[in-house]
Symmetry: C2
Amino acid sequence: MEPNGTPSTNYGNRDDVPSHCLQITTEETHKVVAPPRRTTLEKLSSKLKEMFFPDDPLRQFKGQPLKKKLVLAAQYFFPILQWGPNYSLTLFKSDVVSGLTIASLAIPQGISYAKLASLPPIVGLYSSFVPPLVYAVLGSSRDLAVGPVSIASLVLGSMLRQEVSPASDPVLFLELAFTSTFFAGLFQASLGILRLGFIIDFLSKAILIGFMAGAAIIVSLQQLKSLLGITHFTPQMGLIPVMTSVFHNIHEWSWQTIVMGLCFLVLLLLARYVSMRKPKLFWVSAGAPLVSVIISTLLVFAIKAQTHGISVIGKLQEGLNPPSWNMLRFHGTHLGLAIKTGLITGILSLTEGIAVGRTFAALKNYKVDGNKEMMAIGLMNVVGSFTSCYVTTGAFSRSAVNNNAGAKSAVSNIVMSMTVMVTLLFLMPLFQYTPNVVLGAIIVTAVIGLIDIPAAYFIWKLDKYDFIVMLTAFFGVIFISVQEGLAVAVGLSILKILLQVTRPKTVMLGNIPGTDIYRNVDHYEEAVKLPGFLILSIEAPINFANITYLNERILRWIEEYEEEDNKKKISSLRYVILEMSAVSNVDTSGVSLFRELKKAVNNKGVEIVLVNPLAEVMEKLKKADEGNNELIREDNLFLTVAEAVASLSAMTKGQASNMEEGAQAIPHI
Amino acid sequence: MEPNGTPSTNYGNRDDVPSHCLQITTEETHKVVAPPRRTTLEKLSSKLKEMFFPDDPLRQFKGQPLKKKLVLAAQYFFPILQWGPNYSLTLFKSDVVSGLTIASLAIPQGISYAKLASLPPIVGLYSSFVPPLVYAVLGSSRDLAVGPVSIASLVLGSMLRQEVSPASDPVLFLELAFTSTFFAGLFQASLGILRLGFIIDFLSKAILIGFMAGAAIIVSLQQLKSLLGITHFTPQMGLIPVMTSVFHNIHEWSWQTIVMGLCFLVLLLLARYVSMRKPKLFWVSAGAPLVSVIISTLLVFAIKAQTHGISVIGKLQEGLNPPSWNMLRFHGTHLGLAIKTGLITGILSLTEGIAVGRTFAALKNYKVDGNKEMMAIGLMNVVGSFTSCYVTTGAFSRSAVNNNAGAKSAVSNIVMSMTVMVTLLFLMPLFQYTPNVVLGAIIVTAVIGLIDIPAAYFIWKLDKYDFIVMLTAFFGVIFISVQEGLAVAVGLSILKILLQVTRPKTVMLGNIPGTDIYRNVDHYEEAVKLPGFLILSIEAPINFANITYLNERILRWIEEYEEEDNKKKISSLRYVILEMSAVSNVDTSGVSLFRELKKAVNNKGVEIVLVNPLAEVMEKLKKADEGNNELIREDNLFLTVAEAVASLSAMTKGQASNMEEGAQAIPHI
C-alpha cells in the first residue's frame, strides 16, 4: 500500500522521489505572497486601459509644459505638422517622381474601378482627387497611395444592385453610392475614435487570403463582359450565374474585342512579370496601364474601331468634383441598404488600408497608429461623400508602386491628386475613344496579384484549421456572396477560439532528472513521474465554458494514475499538484471548479496543491474562501513545482506511520 | 553605453546579473527538444477525442472479452441493468417513502405547471406518469425526480401563445405543444448522441442565477391572475404589460379569492420556512401543497365557494395518457415556431436536469455522464410527445424533496409514476372543486426558491463582469423576453472570452533573490529586474485576434525599458526573453507575430529569446522556418528563464569587447 519501503514499487524507473528533488527543504521554500491590494476602480481602469489604449498614446504628453502639449496634440491629429517642417527639396523630388508614377496608374484604374462599381467612370477620377488631399493632411503613413480599390468597388456595386438598377435609375444609384460612402467613413472614423480598431483583427490573415483570391476571381469573371464584348450580362456576382450568362450569350461575343483584349492582357501581364522579376523595372508595370490606354485609344480613333463592335467609354464630363452633400439620402426605403453597404465596404476598405499601412511601416521601420489611421481614412471618406467620391482607401498595388518609385511622404499623394486635377480639367475628351476592353484587361491584371498561392500553401503546412477557414472564405465569396462568405469565415475563426477555451489543454508534468525542472512528459521523454504526485499543468483561463471539461479531465488523469497503481497493487497517490502559471484568470464558475475538485479528490484521500497561482486567481480564490481557508491555504500553496514536491515529500515522510493507516482506510477503487 | 563596468549602472538595485543566476553554466543547460513526431491524422484524432470524448467512455471496454463487452454496452445504455441486480428490499422501502412524498408534490405541481403553460391541467399529470418510467430505465442519476418544471412550462406557453391562442384554438395549441416537446426531445438526444453536451456549459452559473430569478418573478406575476381572481388577463409575459393588466382590471379583483389565496400562500411559505430551518422536517413543505389542495377543495365543496367568485379547475377527464403521435404536426405555418420552442425549452430543461443531476451526484459522490443523461432526457421527451406529455426534465425542487425523503434509486420515480397512475384512473373527480387560487399559491411558493440572493452577492464579490452578465439575464427576462434575455446574456459571456483572447496578459518577470525563480514583478515585490534582460511572460495562445495587440504591447514594454535606461543615460537592453509556457497554441498569424517582432527588435540591436515553447508552438515555428532557423535556433531557445539568463550572461561577457562597438553603432532612440 505504501510506496516507500515496498521493493516492488518501480514508478517512473525510480523507487522514491529522487534525492535532488528534496534538496529544497521546507525552511527554504518561498511563500506565494498575496498580490498588492488594488481597488475595483484601479483594476477596472487598468483593464480599460489595456483594452482601449494598449499603445498608451498619452505617454508622450506626460510631464510636458502646456504649450508643448498643445503642439503635440496638433501634431497628433494632423501628422503633416510633424513631418511638414522638416520637409526638404530632395524629398520633394522623390515625391514628384512617385506621385506622377502613381497618377499614371490611378487614372486608368479610377475609370475601371468606377465601372466595376457600376458608377460613371468620372466618379473614379473624382475619387482620386479629393481623398488623397485629405489623407495627406491626416494620415500617418508615408507610403499609402490613396484611391478607389477593386474589392470595395466590387462589393459596393454588387450590394447596391440588389435593390436598385444602375441602368434604369442611375441618379438614385449614385445617391446611394455616396450615402454608403458617407456611412463607411462614419463607421471607420467611429472605430478609430472609440478605439475599437481591434475589430478588424477578426479578419485574420487566413480569411483575407481566401477572400482576396475569391474576390479576384469574381472581379475577373465580371470582366468577361468587356473582354468578350457581351452586351447582355447578368447583374449577379456568383460564379454560376456569370458562367451561365457568358455561355448563353455566345452569339454576342465579338471577335474584334476578344483579339484586342487578349493583346493588351498579354502586354499587361508581361509588364507585370518583368517588374516582378526585376523590382528596379517597377515603372514597366506601373506605366503599362496608361500606355495601354493611350495606344488603344489611338488605335480605336485611327481605325474607327467603335464601329466594328468595340465598345468605348464615350463622352465624359469635364471639370472638378461637383458638391454632392445634397445627394446624401438619410431617409426612404433604401436607407438600410446604404447603411449595410457602408458598414461592409467600410470594414473591407479599412482592413486593406490598415494592412497596407502596417506592411510598409514595418518595412521602413516607422510606426503607424491603427486608431489614428482609422480616423484619417474615415474622415477622408466622409469628405469624399460630400464631393462626389465613392469609397476609397490605401490600395495594395498602388502603394507598392508608390514605394518602389521612391515615395518619401504623403506629398506623393498630393502630386497624384494634382495630376488627376489637370486631367479632370483638360484631358477628359481624350478618353472618349478608350475601349472598355482595355479597362477590363487592366482590372484583370491588377486583381490577379491578389491570388497568393504560396501564402495559401504556407497556411496549409502550418495550420489545417486556418486552411479550412481560408477555403471557406474563398468558396463562400465565389459561390454565395462577399458578405456571407466573410461572415461564415469569421464565424469559423471565432468558433476555433471558443473551442480552444472550451477544451483547454491539461498536461502531466514530470521531473527532468538532475534538475528541479518539471515539463510535459509527452514532450520531454526523459521527464519522469514522481511516485505519490500527479503534477498537472492547466493551460488556459478557467471559466464557465470549460469547468465541466476540466473537472472530468482532471478526474480522468487521477483515475488513470490509480489504474496504473492498481496494476502494481499499490495505492501511492497523495497529492495532485496543479501548476497554475498559465491560468490567467478564473470567473465565478472557475472558483466552483476548485471547490468541486477538492471535494472529489479528498474523498479519495488525495490533496490538491496549487503552484504559482497568478495575482487575479489568488485574489478570487481568497475572496471565495471568506476566511475559512478552504481553497487557499499556506500548506497547499507553493511557488514552484520543485518546492511543492520537496516540501510535501518531507512532510509525508514525517507522517509516514499515520499515513499508512490512513491509506488502508481508503477503499481501493 | 555598456552596462557592465560603468559605475553609474544601478538597475534593479544590482550592478550586474547576480552571481547565483550564473551558477548554471552553458554546459549544464538543458536543451529544448523537438516534440515526438506525430502525423496530422494522429493529431486530429487526439484533438477530436479531447473535443468529443473527454471522459473516454470506451475505456472500461478495453481488454474485456466479447461477452463482458456486450454486458457493459447494455449496462451503458440502460443503467437500470447496472443497479437493478443489486437492488434490495431495504432500498425499496426507502424508495417507496420518497416516491410517495414526491407524488404528493407532483400531483398539484403537475396541474399548476400545465396551467402555467396554458395547457389542460390533465396534461401535467400525464407528464408525471410516462416520462418518469422512461427515465428510470435510461437515467443514471439516483436522485433526479422527473416531471414538468416551471421555467420550461412558462417558456413553452409564452412562445406558443405568440402565434396561437390556447383559448380560441385549444386543439392546435395542444398539437403545437406536443410537437415542440418532440423537437425538444430530439434536440436533447442529438446533443447527447453527437456528444455536443458542452453547449449547455455556455449557460454559465451567473446567467442561470439571473435567469432563474427573473423567471421566478415573471412566473409569480402570472399568478396574480389566479391570486386576484382576474378574468381578463394579458397573454403577455413582461413586467410592464402584466402590471398594466393587473391595475386596469381592479374592478375584477375578487376579495374572496384574495383572502383565500393569502391564507394558503402564508401556509405554504410557513411550511417552506420550517423545512428550510429544520431539514429533518422536509415532509412539512413536501406535503403542504397536497394538504392545501385537499383542504381548499373540501372548503370550496363545503361552502360552495365557486358560486362566490372563486374559480375552480372544473371537470377533469379520467383515464391514462391517450396516444398523441397523430397530433404531431410536421408541416404547416407553425412548424418554425414549434421547432424554435422545442430548441429553447429543450436547452432550458436540459440545463436544469443536468445541473440537478450533477449537484446530487457530487453530493453523494457518484458520477453522472452528461452525454448519457442528455440521451435519457431527450428520449423521455420524445416518448412523452407520443403519449400526451409536454416537456419534462429533472426538477430542482422535486429532486431536493426526493433526496431529503431518502430516495436510493430511480425506483422512487417508478413509485411516483404509479401513484400518479392511480390518481389518473380513479381520483380525478376529486379535483373538480380545487380552486385555481391555491394552484397559484403553490407555484409562487415553488418559484420563490429560485431567487438566490446569496449566490448573486457571491458573484458580485468575486467577479463584476459575471455580475453584469447576471443582471443582463435578469432584466432581459423580466423586461424583454426569456429567449432574448438569455441570448444577450450568453452573447455577453462569449464576448468576455473573446476580449480575454484579444487582450492577453503580458507580464514582466523578475528574479526572486537567492533563487532561480522568475515571477511577475508587480505581484512579487522582492522580484528584481536583471540589467540587460527584459523578461516577459505571455499568458494566452497567440492568434489572429491578438497579434496586433501583442506586437504593440511588447514593443511598448521595450520602449519603457529603454526610457528607464535613457534616464540613467545607458543603453543596456540586449535580450527580450519571452517565457512561452502559457502559450498553448499559435496559428498562422501567431507565427507572423514572431517574425515581425524579431525584425522590429533586431533593428534596435536586441535579440528575442524563447523559453519553454510548448510542443505545438515549437512545431509550427519550425515548420514556418523551413530550415533557415530564423525563428527557432539552438542559441535562442531555453528550457527555463534561469538557464537563459545564465547562458546569455556568460555569452555577453565573452563578447563584451565586440558588443561595446556594436552598442555604440545603435542609435540611442
